[in-house]
Symmetry: C2
Subunit: 333 residues, 2 copies
């Protein structure tokens, strides 16, 4: 932490932006009755009794006139689904409201849908705030949905990964012995345990179908991309570190899950109707497990976990081919 | 989303708390020169030129007198390490500053260490805000560290899981075909791929030591808890879905990684010096991989990922025994 000798505007903005905020869109109508809306993250609550909230608007903003003239405005706390809307209302576009379904709020002020929370307000005070005007509004009405809210930090959209009050510890040991360097905090351990515990929910169903995790991967790959050569299958499951051999494929053939076809001069494996059925059963169960997890973690936190796992996967990707692209590239042998 | 018919204070607070915020501690000195500090999440930036920030304080607050009398106060944007400090300064405790090392800020106002950012301010305006007073301060000095900031949402501490501007997609296919129900968005797929990609970094080292992932788990368990029976080892690695058998243990003995000892009437496996050495090498590599990931994701996002994985593990825990507890319970056969 080093003090800033002089006031560098970028450094000041960077320091300010470390303070996490939600994202809101604030709407009103101008004197012509046209809807006006801007994205703001300067919102905050002020008072419970009377119910007051505040936000600030740049004096240079095009919408200042409208917000100064019309005492009524609505604050929309955006949900994670509304990132694109946030970008739209942060722009200087003319036609921000085109194609957007509006509800009628108090005094005919536009209300947007699919938000996390909404506050319908009437200006109580307008205060001097340097290059901004601080609007303090009395809350006349509000509502709230169960949609997880969008957050913003250091110039990036974010999702809040909440920490339970009691903290999260897997082990009851507070401080691990220093010489024991393998702790529950190791990312690799956590990813592995999460993976295996999720697979454990599928185990009975897998066993009923005489499948192990490895064979399940092969069926999953074929359920997305059919007619693959053994080489292509291996290309897609190589990241698991285990090779798919002819014996495994012969076993899957014997079970009636795949058939071997000769196409384009190559031996290709094709999922049978039964193989597809079995694969879909497992995906359905995996989705049911995910729903249970979402219920326990909350929708926003599950979404945050998925985003972070995708970023981890991208950061550690050894170059796995895109399984969802129609034509898989064939590696020359 | 349903409108509130009447103004229920709890419902209003719940709706307001969906707006994510950072957490700050704001300090000053009272007329006796004693340090005063309170936790506030009503902070926000107002103006860049002149540099202004604001926050609000309950009129009923004990510290109102001090903040009204002393024009100087410091805002500390708390880091994820300072959750306990946040709780301390949110309480009515007498001796909040006991044992806390303070730096001297402008006008002798206390500065706390280990924050994400700090703003040294002088009151520019005090505004009426219902049951709160709104303090607008001119920023006289500020600094910023690289520590990830603490967030707060819906009454819980949180960490922001940031989303890159370009989004995160593993597949280049925007919309998966509806009949293809196995998508890259499936939590189980993401956890599995994350796990295997992390293990992939260890593969060469594992192969050099003639170990597969399964054998590596056994060594890891023994590096934390030594002198385990085969049954106990299986108890700890059961979540992987693979059984440890005598053949694997015999192989590890042959490699010189473990020895079998007869203690307390049971056959127990003990890690040799070489076994411990090998295990530590793998943990060191896993930590190096984790550091690389942290560099790419950022310290805050890596921390958020770990918290979410721990919550996922807790939510799906089939009852795995605590490996870090000194005395493992022995399951009767």
């Amino acid at each position: 932490m080093t003090a800033q000798a002089s006031f560098n505007p970028k450094a000041f903005r960077d320091a300010l932006s470390t303070f996490t905020t939600g994202v809101t869109i604030i709407t009103t109508r101008n004197s012509d009755g046209e809807p006006i809306g801007i994205t703001a993250n300067s919102f905050n609550s002020v008072s419970l009794n009377p119910p007051l909230v505040l936000w600030s608007l740049a004096k240079s903003a095009f919408s200042l006139e409208a917000f100064s003239a019309n005492k009524h405005w609505n604050v929309h706390v955006l949900s994670t689904e509304q990132e694109a809307l946030s970008g739209l209302f942060a722009s200087r576009g003319e036609d921000k409201f085109a194609g957007i379904q509006l509800e009628k709020g108090i005094n005919d002020i536009p209300l947007l849908g699919n938000c996390t929370a909404r506050f319908q307000c009437r200006t109580a005070f307008m205060y001097e705030g340097g290059d901004h005007v601080i609007f303090v509004g009395e809350v006349l009405g509000f509502d709230k949905s169960e949609l997880p809210p969008l957050a913003f930090q250091s110039g990036q959209y974010a999702l809040a990964a909440r920490k339970p009050r009691e903290g999260v510890r897997l082990s009851s040991i507070e401080e691990h012995a220093p010489e024991c360097s393998y702790t529950e905090d190791l990312l690799g351990y956590l990813a592995g345990r999460a993976h295996y515990q999720l697979v454990a929910f599928l185990r009975t169903l897998l066993q009923n179908h005489k499948l192990d995790e490895h064979a399940f991967f092969v069926l999953s790959v074929l359920s997305i991309q059919d007619k693959l050569t053994l080489e292509q299958i291996n290309h897609f499951v190589a990241y698991t570190g285990r090779e798919v051999n002819l014996a495994l494929m012969a076993f899957l053939q014997k079970q009636g899950y795949v058939v071997l076809e000769h196409r384009d001069g190559k031996d290709r494996y094709v999922l049978t109707a039964e193989g597809r059925e079995v694969s879909l059963e497992h995906v359905a169960l995996a989705k049911a497990v995910e729903e249970q997890v979402t219920e326990k973690l909350g929708a926003g936190d599950t979404q945050a976990l998925k985003i972070l796992l995708k970023r981890l996967i991208t950061a550690t990707d050894p170059g796995i081919p895109d399984l969802w692209v129609a034509e898989p590239t064939e590696k020359s042998a």
